[in-house]
Amino acid sequence: MAHATYTTDDFLADESFQAFVAASDPAAVAFWQAWVEQHPAQAAAFHEAAAVLQLLVTSRPAPAPAPLKQTELAKLWHAMEPTGAPESRLLLRSRRATRSRWWAATALIAVVLSVVAGLGLWPRPAAAPTWTRYATAAGQHRQVGLPDGSRVVLNGSSELRMTATWQPGQAREVWLTGEAYFDVQHTAPAELKAVAGAPAQVKFTVHAGALDVAVLGTRFDVLSRAGTTKVVLNSGQIELRRTAGPPEPLLMQPGDMVEFDAAAPRGASPSAPCNPPSIRLGPAGTSTLTTRRWQKSLPCWKTLMGCRSRWATPPCGGRS
């Protein structure tokens, strides 16, 4: 073998030998340990080369300061945030001239980040956050643009959660507590209009209380508070499922309203899919899932975006 004629320099240049000295490759370590025993003639050159390399492999650069790393990681998370504030994106600046401004901006970003992190509104960088959360206080409204182009208006005391990133071709999912109006972007091919049977990756699902509200692209309202979940469909189609119920969905048509009360006495669960214009699901008297026509309210829903002050009350007056 060529190793038998190795000089000190040959050992030095050999990558496998370097890996042996650095102990970075168990196979190399085993090989060279055995090799030197079998080649005592080469032992002097072998050990000299090992001693030279030993000088270098014991050297390690100091790690980056931990606070710096954390700040920089938070900045990266912020930049990756789909609806993140674009003004906080970092650009390489022309240094020296802008050094003081830069420092001020950095300090400001750090302060904002730590405040936001303290409030729990920010995904913790160390815990590899995957959630984006939008919340409103009582009486507050908030319009949120989702990564797929859909729009959500959050009513007061509500919270919307979703994974931090959405990729095209992936099922869109959000989790809601409180009340929100959804205007969902249709991402399926134009000819695909029925949500029932549509592939998961073109669906948009709102998980609200005990209901999963799946659509392709429509406008609807979901209210989920204290065990009660109410869904009102404005246009298009909704496929409704109970989270812990039978797999058969309920199909909602425009003007339908569905109310589900998890606290209501548990009768027989909804059994058959309810096709419009069927109104009710489940045996009479024990229904836990009911559908009502809500045609009268449609004009109100159409102007929803413009009548936010009335938004806090149950939508459009009394029940039928």
């Binding site: 030279v52 000088l55 050297s59 650069p61 100091a62 990681l73 990266l76 240094r95 960088p125 990133t165």
Partner: protein, 194 residues
């Protein structure tokens, strides 16, 4: 410090290309120290190093859809980072009319890096530092990538945009110089005993 295998890094890379922010953040965490250390070797400007790493990862995120699979993620990151740092350094030099040398980067070794080798006497350490700092810039950089970051000749070639044989020669000549220091130390030791 670096506890991530090449396979794990490649998986994270693919997940990140698929749109997983958390995968890119994991790569950032895994390689930040190494990139920072390398950057601090290449330039004395700490701010510039920090900004270039941040910028590199943000750009990766923005361009994730167009990125391809890579063999060794760490080498890819080092290469992209080096390129980025060189561009910025050049831009700043032009902006401030500083003389631009043929070799942009000045890798120097400092005492702190050799503190771990405490068993070696101060005199020998000083000689070793002297020898390392007398090497050419490229030799120093190649040696750094070899022994501080554990890159193979092939990966160093990728990072430094050289061919593998050139890298082999750079490292080999550098090691011969280090060996000379050892020999001198040995001779001095023998003379001292005699």
């Amino acid at each position: 410090m670096q506890t991530i295998t090449e396979e794990a890094a490649a998986q994270l890379w693919d997940a990140f290309r698929g749109g997983e922010a958390r995968a890119l953040a994991a790569l950032f965490e895994a390689y930040y120290d190494a990139l920072y250390g390398y950057g601090r070797k290449l330039t004395g400007d700490e701010e510039l190093v920090k900004d270039c790493i941040q910028n590199l990862f943000q750009k990766l995120w923005q361009r994730r859809a167009g990125l391809r699979a890579v063999q060794v993620v760490k080498a890819y990151l080092f290469k992209a980072f080096r390129h980025h740092l060189a561009d910025e350094t050049q831009r700043l030099q032009q902006q401030h009319a500083l003389p631009a040398g043929p070799d942009l980067f000045e890798v120097t070794y400092s005492h702190e890096e050799f503190l771990i080798a405490e068993q070696r006497d101060a005199e020998q350490r000083a000689r070793l530092l002297g020898a390392l700092n007398r090497l050419s810039k490229r030799q120093r950089e190649a040696l750094y990538l070899k022994f501080f970051d554990g890159f193979s000749y092939e990966r160093i070639a990728e990072v430094m945009a050289l061919n593998t044989q050139s890298v082999r020669n750079l490292v080999f000549n550098a090691l011969k110089a280090v060996r000379q220091v050892m020999l001198t130390a040995l001779v001095l030791c023998l003379l001292g005993e005699g």
